[in-house]
Amino acid sequence: MAIQCLILGAGQEVGKSCVVAMIGGKKIMFDCGMHMGFSDHRAFPDFSLLSSNDISCVVITHFHLDHIGALPYFTEVCGYNGPIYMTYPTKALAPLMLEDYRKILVDRRGLEEQYTYENIIHCMNKVIPIDIKQTIQVDKDLQIRAYYAGHVLGAAMIYAQVGEEKMLYTGDYNMTPDRHLGAAQIDRLSLDLLITESTYATTVRDSKYSREREFLKAVHTCVAAGGKVLIPTFALGRAQELCILLDDYWERMNINVPIYFSAGLTIQANMYYKMLIGWTSQKIKDSYTVRNPFDFKHVCPFERSMINLPGPCVLFATPGMISGGFSLEVFKQWAPSDKNLIAIPGYCVAGTIGHKLMSGKPTRIDLDKDTLIDVRCQIHQLTFSPHTDSKGIMDLVEFLSPKHVILVHGEKPKMAALKQRIESELGIQCEYPANNETVLVPTTQSLKISASKTFVRNCTTELDGDERIAEGILVMEKGHNAKIVSEEEFLETIGAERNVVSFTGWMSPLAQ
């Protein structure tokens, strides 16, 4: 028996995660993402390699586009009609992300859309929501279960089992908790196969506390000196994380400087967080009984007219990377003052202002041929990442001790290094196939054997020190269940008698 794994995306690359695993004759598609770097046919996994009717179910781990972006295309255009599973938060947030992206694609870049708004709605209607640790019986043989993965709100790791064959697909996960999400959590499962992400296959990240300390110090010093702080972020995840951090600090230090959220998606996102409190970290859940931690005490909505008001403030503005929109507008106003601070959390795509700011402090930025921005403000770079580091991956693999590991969602050389470590340190076979490759993972088959009463009795009585050794004979007949019996019984069944042959040896002294 074997598990057959077809890597449709995220093989030796980051983007368009999609793995189709055939386990015990059932085909499961884990994630159905798109690649943000391409806008042609390469953006989607190559669905022509499979027939959509073969798939037993599709399971989506979280709402990021590189994990869900191709789902409407697969269901509405390719015609997949089976069940789709995702967690409640993912189901709630995914249509927002999909529609937002579709709009940007069509309205801003003027590209041809791959699916329409109706497609998204129709596709989401087919989704069956699941809860953490809820076991779903997809059909007679196949059962799946979601485990908490951290990473983003509603992210899950998916466990699938058919008969004795078991596997886990991690999706993206985080082994260290942050301020608003918990760490990934899993039971001890004796797995045949573990498919894990490996974004940071070789990075070992330091304690998050030092990053937080630097960030708070920079922000506090800036507002204490009367400056304004701009934090350009995307609406979900980092914004809440940093806001909790700041709100908490403000509270403890009795700071009275206002923290603003630019209107729009962020406020809507906070509403989702408030509703989905059960999916956040333990601390948030604990304090929820007293007060909803997403009802930030020091946060108030921001209006365009307030940009040039005097006095210090902190502003969270979308979109991240200062790629346009409101964050760019504020940046234009605030950048020329050396009292102000721009804090950039996370990664910025090349070509955006965020990227320019991070790659060496420029003194002026040419926005277009008419607009020049004088940059005198301070710049603080933050490296918050919701992915686990290599230590986390190793810890998870060690804890689960599967028989086989497949690495996806990473860069090829780093994956090679990690594979080396897994094989040498943990002694577990590991592979990192490229896109569209198929891997065959052998699984052990276990067989139910019944035992006869005499044998069991022998087992309990024949105790030899600390070791328990019992002898018996395994009988396997065609058409019958395998059975283990004691020696006497076996002789009885085959109608043979026990004969004892004894030898007496004699050695001549002359033989020496």
């Binding site: 260290t176 908790p177 301020r179 918990g182 760490a183 959590q185 899993i186 039971d187 001890r188 070992v204 990240r205 330091d206 304690s207 998050k208 506390y209 030092s210 937080e212 300390r213 708070l216 110090k217 506090h220 908490d248 600090y249 509270e251 403890r252 230090m253 009795n254 970290s281 333990q282 601390k283 580091d389 230590k391 190793m394 810890d395 060690e398 804890f399 340190e425 309990t460 105790l463 600390d466």
Partner: protein, 899 residues
């Protein structure tokens, strides 16, 4: 009782040795009901148990009934310990029976043993179990039997030392070790718990190889599938590590300790919170770990061999990566309990290794930003211990975060941070200055913490001589620049900075010549605040002398030095004071008798003042005497007032009302003095009684037509005096007057003339009768809650001094404008001796008014039993007059609704 009899009926028939008899469920349940009912008589219980025991052999064929009967017996054993022995001896024969029977017997034994007192429980088991039996039961194929014998063994091992043993230590350990391999996780866990118990109980008595052997098994189990087994296994690894670390056998144990440490570290990433907590607790127990391994636990990256003297690669290959970053994971954990535990064990190791301390301080400082207050406090605690051991090496990058704590919301955190600052060594002047500024910010925001802040500033100045000198010079310049009389210097920040400046000259007499003189002069007006903060370190007087000496203020040292204040009162001084006062009192008396009230009043007033001054520095015993005198003088003052008002020549003109008030006051003052002290001499007692006679005479003379009650009262007092000693002239005169039935009133003047003030020289070794009252969990900010109309409970801590068992004490509770409520204090409920009795009790207050909030005045009063006339008081309250023993306390209540 009738009902009881009818229930016994079916059971008594069971005594009939009828072989066909079977217990049915109904009779079993009636037996159970009888045995569990607390009001069943002893006889009935005995006969019930006897009939149950007699029927046991008959039931041996019916396993269900037998196990039910056994469980009924087991349930009743804890309630009737006297029956345990007979139950145990009857079930002994059944223990080797069928599986179900033996498991029922074992569970009965367990419940009997656990209900017994320490030694009885295990001696019962010793009488019934032996090695062969235990071994055969332990290797039974039936889960129930194994689990019960295991629980029995765990129970016994906890009392291993105080009982006779039916197993040798070795066999016991072997049995437990065997159970650690059982297929049932519960049994594995119980077995580990048993071993842990064994190791703790037999701590020093066990051989070296026992913990080693346990350790080996525990390490095998830390990877168990069951969460609870892992928790127990990790705990045992920690315990073994602790024991092995303590035991001396002359071998270098670092290698072994390293292995144990890394093994536990590997559990720091377990998915179960309980396991992680236990792992970090266990890490704190393992000592003697090498620096290399400790450093590895702070770094997620695998450290190379060059980073430590000893390479960790040498260790067991499998354990190498385990230690990596264990503590980092611990302090980053999602659950605050884990973080707290990690923080504690990090602190334990940090004080033992300087190298580790240097690195761990980064993380402990970072934890100051944790969202849980208890974690922050734990980290502060660890930092404090490091500071106390001198291994706190603060770096510049930590300062911002650390100083932020001084303005933290939580007062506990602020306090913790200041405690560390007192010990900290700061590397740079700028940091020193910003620390001082932050402390001043702390002071401005939370002025109520002035004392603590000043003390921290003082320690800071003391520990950083150069820096504080620098600050002092700056301050002096600033003072020179500003004009005199500038009010900016009255600010708290000024006082704070001055404390820093004078700290090092004050404590070590260094820097004195360098410190600008002007600062000392500026510090003089702040003396009160500074000395309060430095209580226990410097005496206020010393501080003042020091500041004046070094300032440019001209003064003479003797101006300030009343000898008494600085030295406390010696015994000789005390004697002379008492002599002086009693002499003055005598003088005052003669003045009172001579109707010279004003002069007497002057003398008495100056006596009072003297007493006040002396009692400031007097010893505890002396205070009692002084207290007595002050009370006595109050009485004299009252007598003098009354005497002045009495116009003897024209007895009809005095104002009856004001006299009544004064007499009432005098009466209560006298009661107070009589019931607030004990252990006085005969002379003093006589004197006090005579005084009370005098009061009676006053009252008598006011009443005009004296009642028989008054006369009776007077006579009884006189006979009391007669019993104590021979009568004085004063008493004899009264006696004569009463006997002659002549008017006392007429002779009041002559009576006063013969009144002698003597006996006061004998005031010695008196003990105060007093009470202290403490209301638990109540203050005006956080009042107790109540439901209007329903009784409310007040938890009180009462301490009584020198009360005798015959005293009748009451708790007096009153709400303004209402009748007081009295609660009798039964002295038998108090713990302690006559000298000090203590008790904490919940006192109900019944008549809660229907208001949103109210306050009750609570105090303890003593009933004055020897006051002869009985006054009809409130129902349920004291029958005699009362006098207060404690200070009145206010208890605040607020209605549940208004919360």
């Amino acid at each position: 009782m009738e009902e009881e009899g009818s229930l016994v009926q079916p059971l008594t028939t069971t005594c009939n040795p009828n072989p066909l008899f079977q217990f049915d469920l109904t009779s079993l349940s009636s037996a159970q009901a009888l045995l569990l009912n607390p009001s069943t008589s002893i006889d009935t219980i005995h006969s019930t148990v006897d009939s149950l025991l007699l029927s046991l052999p008959h039931l041996s064929t019916n396993a269900t009934s037998l196990s039910l009967a056994l469980s009924v017996l087991a349930q009743s054993a804890p309630l009737h310990p006297s029956l345990s022995q007979s139950i145990v001896s009857s079930v002994r024969s059944l223990i080797n029976g069928q599986d179900r029977t033996s498991s029922a017997v074992l569970s009965a034994l367990l419940s009997i043993a656990t209900s017994c007192h320490n030694e009885d429980g295990s001696s019962i088991l010793t009488s019934i179990l032996d090695e062969d039996l235990v071994l055969s039961l332990a290797s039974s194929g039936v889960y129930k039997i194994r689990s019960r014998i295991l629980r029995l063994l765990v129970f016994v091992v906890g009392r291993w030392k105080c009982s006779g043993k039916f197993l040798t230590d070795e066999v016991m350990v072997r049995v437990f070790l065997r159970f650690t391999g059982d297929i049932y996780p519960v049994l594995r866990r119980d077995a580990i718990d048993g071993l842990c118990e064994f190791l703790t109980v037999a701590r020093d008595g066990v051989d070296f190889c026992v913990p080693e052997c346990c350790l080996e098994h525990a390490i095998g189990l830390i990877g168990d599938d069951d969460e609870f087994v892992r928790v127990a296994a990790v705990r045992m690894v920690g315990l073994c590590g602790e024991m092995l670390g303590e035991k001396e056998n002359g071998v270098d144990k670092t290698g072994q300790m390293d292995t144990i440490f890394t093994q536990i570290c590997s559990m720091a990433r377990d998915m179960s919170v309980k396991v992680r907590i236990e792992a970090f607790n266990a890490l704190g127990k393992v000592k003697l770990v090498s620096d290399a391994v400790l450093m590895q636990s702070l770094s997620k990256k695998i450290l190379g061999s060059k980073n430590g003297g000893k390479s960790i690669i040498k260790l067991d290959k499998a354990s190498k990566p385990c230690a990596a970053g264990a503590y980092i994971h611990g302090i980053e954990d999602e659950f605050y309990v884990v973080r707290k535990s990690a923080c504690r064990s990090l602190g334990i190791h940090a004080v033992m290794s300087f190298k580790f301390a240097d690195d761990s301080i980064n993380y402990l400082m970072d934890l100051m930003n944790d969202d849980s207050e208890s974690v922050r406090l734990e980290a502060l605690d660890s930092l404090f211990r490091m500071a106390a051991q001198g291994c706190l090496n603060v770096q510049e990058k930590h300062v911002h975060m650390f100083l932020g704590l001084l303005t933290d919301m939580s007062s506990l955190v602020r306090h913790g941070a200041r405690k560390i600052l007192q010990l900290m060594k700061l590397p740079k002047l700028e940091i020193f200055k910003s620390t001082v500024n932050k402390l001043i910010a702390n002071l401005e925001k939370y002025p109520e913490e002035e004392e603590g802040i000043f003390f921290s500033l003082f320690s800071l100045g003391k520990n950083h001589r150069e820096f504080s000198l620098n600050v002092a010079k700056d301050l002096a310049k600033q003072i020179e620049r500003t004009s005199k009389g500038d009010l900016t210097f009255a600010k708290p920040s000024m006082a704070a900075t001055l404390v820093v400046c004078i700290a090092s000259p004050l404590s070590e007499n260094e820097n004195v010549p360098d410190t600008p003189v002007v600062l000392f002069s500026y510090a003089v007006p702040l003396l009160g605040r500074i000395s309060r903060a430095l209580q226990g370190t410097f005496d206020q007087h010393f501080l003042l002398t020091f500041l004046l000496d070094h300032s440019n203020i001209k003064w003479k040292s003797r101006d300030l030095m009343p000898e008494i204040v600085s030295k406390g009162i010696s015994e000789d001084l005390m004697q002379s004071v008492i002599k002086f006062i009693s002499k003055s009192v005598g003088d005052a008396w003669s003045l009172i008798k001579g109707s010279n009230g004003n002069d007497a009043e002057k003398i008495l007033r100056s006596c009072m003042k003297e007493l006040e001054i002396i009692s400031l520095n007097a010893s505890q015993a002396a205070i009692t005497t002084l207290d007595f005198f002050s009370k006595y003088i109050q009485i004299l003052q009252l007598i003098s007032k009354i005497q002045c008002k009495f116009d003897f020549r024209n007895s009809t003109t005095f104002h009856i009302k004001s006299h009544h008030i004064l007499l009432e006051k005098l009466d209560s003052a006298l009661r107070k003095i009589r019931y607030s002290f004990t252990g006085w001499t005969k002379e003093v007692e006589c004197h006090i009684l005579e005084l009370s006679l005098l009061v009676d005479v006053f009252t008598f003379s006011l009443a005009r037509i004296p009642s028989n009650e008054y006369l009776k009262n007077l006579l009884s007092k006189i006979s009391h005096l007669e019993a104590i000693s021979c009568l004085s002239d004063f008493t004899k005169e009264i006696k004569r007057l009463i006997e002659e039935r002549s008017s006392v009133m007429v002779n009041l003047h002559s009576l006063l003339k013969v009144f002698e003030c003597s006996g006061l020289e004998f005031v010695r070794e008196m003990k105060p009768i007093k009470a202290e009252l403490k209301v638990v969990g109540d203050d005006s900010e956080n009042p107790l809650t109540f439901v209007p109309g329903l009784p409310a409970g007040i938890r009180l801590w009462i301490t009584l001094h020198n009360t005798s068992s015959t005293d009748r004490l009451w708790l007096h509770m009153s709400v303004r404008g209402r009748r007081p409520q009295y609660v009798f204090l039964d002295l038998s409920n108090f713990e302690g001796s006559e000298e000090v009795r203590k008790c904490s009790s919940l006192i109900p207050f019944y008549e809660t008014p229907k208001v949103a909030s109210f306050e009750i005045r609570v105090c303890i009063v003593i009933e004055c039993l020897s006051e002869h006339y009985e006054v009809l008081k409130e129902r349920g309250g004291p029958k005699y007059d009362v006098t207060e023993l404690s200070v009145e306390k206010l208890v605040y209540f607020s209605s549940v609704k208004s919360r």
